[in-house]
Amino acid sequence: MGNLVKPYGDTVNDGKVQMSFTLPIPWSEAADEAARRLVGKMGFTGVQIVEGRPIADGFSFFVAYAATPQAIDTSTISVTSAKTHAMSMDEIDDLIRERVGRKLRIAGACIGTDAHTVGIDAILNMKGYKGDYGLERYRMFETFNLGSQVSVEEFVRFAKEKKIDALLASQVVTQKGSDVKNFTALAELLEAEGLRDEIVLCCGGPRVTNLMATELGYDAGFGRGTLPSEVAAFIATRMAQKIASAR
C-alpha cells in the first residue's frame, strides 16, 4: 500500500545518494576506509569513497556515493501548505471587504538581532517580489514595516498599541537555533499578554516551513520563494474564518 519511494540514481529503487563531509583526521588510505565504514554505520550499502584528500593539517574531505535501504511512503505525508489558495490581489481585497468588512492592520519586522530585511520587505513593500505586489499595495491592508533588529518586546508592544490584526515575523539568521528561539519568545509573549487568539501570527524566512511554524504555535510559516500574494491570501482567509467562527 502507499507509495514507497527511494532515491533514484539511474535505476528504479537503487537508493543512490551523494554525500560529502569533513573528518578531523589527517588523510591516508586508512582515512578513506574510516570514511567508508562511517557511511556504512550510517546505514548505507555499496559505499564508495570517490574522493578523499587532506584539506588542512588534521582535516580530510570526502565525497561518497552510497545506497540507502530506506524508503519513504509519500502517501503518508500531508503537509498543509500555507500557500494552497492562489488568489489575485483583487480577490483578496474583495474577500476582506466582504468577510471582514474593514481594513486589516498588519505589522512586520525582522526580530531579535536579525537585520536581514530583504525578505520581509519583499512581502510588505509596495514593489513586492518577482512581479507580485507587496501587502502595502493592497487596499484592504494597512501595513507597518518596523524594519530590522526589533526586539520581541517592542514588537508585541507595538501590536498592542496599534491593535494589529496580523503579525509577520522574519528570521534569516539560523545559527545556533537563534530563529527558533526568537520565534518561540514571540509566540510566548503574545500568549502571556493574552493577545495570541486575536492575532493571525505568521513567520517566515529561508529555513522556515509551515510545519515548523505550526509546531511553534504559529498560524502559518513561509519559506524560500514566498510571494506576497500567498501571504495576503492566507491572512485574509484565516481572518475570515476567525470572524465566522466567532459569530
Partner: protein, 519 residues
Amino acid sequence: MELRIDRGAVERCRELARAIAAPVSEFIAAHSTVSVERSVLRLLGVDGVSTDDVPVPNLIVEALSPEERARGAALAFGRGLAETGLEPQALGEALASGELSLSAFARVPEEPARRVVAAFVERSLARIRARREERAEKLTRLPQLPPPLLYVIVASGNIYEDRTAAVAAAEAGAQIVAVIRSTGQSLLDFVPFGPTTEGFGGTYATQANFKIVREALDAASERLGRYVMLTNYASGLCMPEIATMAAIERLDMLLNDSMYGILFRDINMKRTFVDQHFSRMLNAYSGIVINTGEDNYLTTADAVEQAPAVLASQFINEEFAHRAGMPDRQIGLGDAYEIDPDLEDGFLFQVAQAQLARQIFPGAPLKYMPPTKHMTGDIFKGHLIDALFNLTSVMTHQTIHLCGMLTEAIHTPFLGDRALSLENARYVMNTARHFGDEIAFKPEGKIEQRARGVLTDAERLLGRVAERGLMQAIEAAVFADVSRPPDGGRGFDGVFPRAAGYWNPFEEALRMERGSRGG
C-alpha cells in the same frame, strides 16, 4: 573574436588531406566487407535472429561462398528473391531456419535478380527519404534552441531506464540524447537484437532499442515544442549496419570516425576504411550528422601535445566525409576540452584550439567534448572545469555541445547528474552569451600564437602522413602513438576484394543520386 591565421596553411592542409585520402579511396573502391554486405541485406529488408540469436544477415553472409561474397551479397540474395518471389524478410527467415539455402539459386540468371533487387532498393531508399523528410518537418514545426546544442548521454545498461532518463534529460533542457553502448559491443561482429536490459557501462545498440528511445523522444519533442535529437554509435565492426538501422529509425546523429576503430579498438584499418565509406554514404543520404572522434587523442595522451593531431585528423575526417558525399553541414568534427586543469593558462589554450577549429571549418557543426580525463571524484571541482568548458564553447560558437558530468570519474550519469550538468551549461551559456562577440584576441598574444603553432604543426604532421601513405603512417604510430599493421587487428578476415561484376545496389544508387545532386 577572430584569430589571424595563415589561410594558405589551411589550404595546404586540405590539399594534403586530399593526397592522403586518394590512395585509400582506391583501396576502398576495390574492396568490400562482411559488414557492408550485411547492411545491404538489412537495407533490403532482412532483419531478425536465428533460434540461437545469430542475426539473419550474418547467417546469410556467412553462408556465401567466397566467390559469391566477392560479387556482393545482393546478387546471390537477389537470385533467391527472384526465384522464390518472397519478400526479403521471409526469404531471410527461410534461409536462417535452414529451410532454404542461397546456393540452391546459384544458377538463377542475373537479370531478374537485379531487377527484383532494384525494386526493393527503391522501396528502401524511399523509406529512408521518408524518415529524412519527417525529420525536416519536425525541425520546422518544432525548432531547436540555438546552438551550442546541449547533448547528454544515457547509459544505464537497461533500455527502459534509458528511456526514462532520455525523456527526463529532454525536459531538463537536453537537445540531443545519446544512448551509450555497452563495453565490448564495438568488437562484436554482429548487431544484437531486440530490446536489451543488461549492458555494462552502456546499453546495447539494437534496432529495437533505437525505436524505443526514438518514440519516447518524439513524444517529448511534441510536448516540449522542440525537436530532441537522438544519437548512437556507427563505430566498431558493424559500422555500416548501425548506419542502416539509424537511417531506418530516424536517428539524427552518429558517432563515426574514419580512424577511431583502428587506433583505439585495434580494428583492422582496411576494414575500417571500407566500412566508414559506405556508412557515410548512407549517413549522407539519411541526413544524419556524423560526429568524429578526435577527442580520443586527448584522453589517452597529453592534450597540449596532441592538439596538432586533432586538427590533422579533422582534415582527414572532413576529406573522407566529402568523398562519401557528405555536405559540410553533416560533418560534426570532434574536439575536446582535455587540457590539465592545473596547467597555468590552460584555459587560453583551450580557447585557442576551439576557435581555430571554428575558423577552419566554418560550415561544420563542430562537436565539442567535455573534460573527462582530468575529472576526479572531486565532483565540486569537476563541475567547475565543466563550467569553463561551457564558457569556451559558447565563446567560440561550437555547435554540438556534449555536456560534462560532475560525476564523470565515478559512474555513468545519474538522472540528477544530468540535470546539474544541463543547469551548468544553461547558466554559463546564458550569462556569457555574447562574451565571445565582445572581445578580440591580442595580436600575437598567447592565444593567437598557440593557435598558429597548432596549425603549423598539423600541416607538418599531414605532410609526413602524405609522404608515407596513411596506412604506413598509422603503422609508424604517427597518430596517438599507436602502431597498427595494415593486415592486423580485429575484423581483417571480413575484408575481401571485389570481384569483377561486384554489385552493391545501394552504393550504386547513392552514387547516382549524389551525382544528380552534383555532390
